[in-house]
């Protein structure tokens, strides 16, 4: 029978922080050109579509 994994203590510490902006991600993004930023979004979109397709295919084969 499946048993839930005990939550690592680090998660509880991280959850104590209020939700906020990821300034490190913002700083990384600013190193790119606008076109590179848009290309990243297109890659993300392609990944999302592929994941949706894979999930649909897996459901069909069950």
């Amino acid at each position: 029978m499946w048993q839930p994994v005990k939550e690592p203590w680090q998660y509880r510490v991280l959850d104590m922080n209020p939700p906020s902006l990821d300034v490190a991600a913002l700083a990384e993004s600013l190193k790119l050109t606008p076109t590179q930023r848009l290309e990243n979004v297109q890659r993300l979109n392609a990944l999302a579509i592929e994941l949706q397709r894979a999930t649909r295919d897996a459901a069909k084969t069950k």
Partner: protein
């Protein structure tokens, strides 16, 4: 999946007067987040409407989410009769806005818009102040999430 590069190419090759707004402008300014469509504010002059209609005709624009049997003739007259259009095209989703909440029409926006190069095309885009005003005016949850990042970018 929306082909940003080809959409910008179609519009700029036809000299359509437009300003890039919405999620892509947020991303181009530096906040990485997901978006699926291209949003633009276009000039409502008869000449520009004719250019826009001709530029997009090859990619078969139709109304997003509308029943397939609903007639939607894509031409300058249809564009002139409406204002805002949420479209699906052969290149992906494209939203055309005649006016932007908090900012106004193309003529109001273009005065302060910035010019950037995207996929080799010269494109006008909302400046950071305009983007913040439009997001504050729209006020949806996703806009409020963008605002925090945009204000951070503004403060440097």
């Amino acid at each position: 999946m929306t082909d940003f590069k080809r959409i910008f190419g179609l519009l700029t090759d036809a000299n359509v007067e437009f300003v890039l707004i919405g999620g892509l402008s947020v991303i181009a300014h530096g906040h990485q987040r997901a978006t699926l469509d291209v949003d633009i504010c276009y000039a409502r002059t008869p000449k520009n409407i004719a250019r826009l209609a001709a530029a997009l005709a090859p990619v078969h624009p139709r109304l997003r989410g509308a029943p397939a049997e609903l007639k939607f003739p894509w031409d300058a007259q249809t564009l002139a009769n409406g204002l805002n259009f949420t479209l699906v095209t052969d290149l992906g989703d494209l939203d055309l806005l005649g006016e932007v909440a908090g900012l106004g029409s193309y003529e109001d926006i273009a005065l302060s818009a910035i010019e950037i190069t995207l996929f080799g095309c010269q494109v006008e885009m909302l400046n950071l102040d305009q983007l913040i005003r439009s997001k504050a005016a729209a006020g949806r949850v996703k806009d409020l999430l963008d605002l925090e990042a945009l204000r951070k970018l503004q403060s440097g």
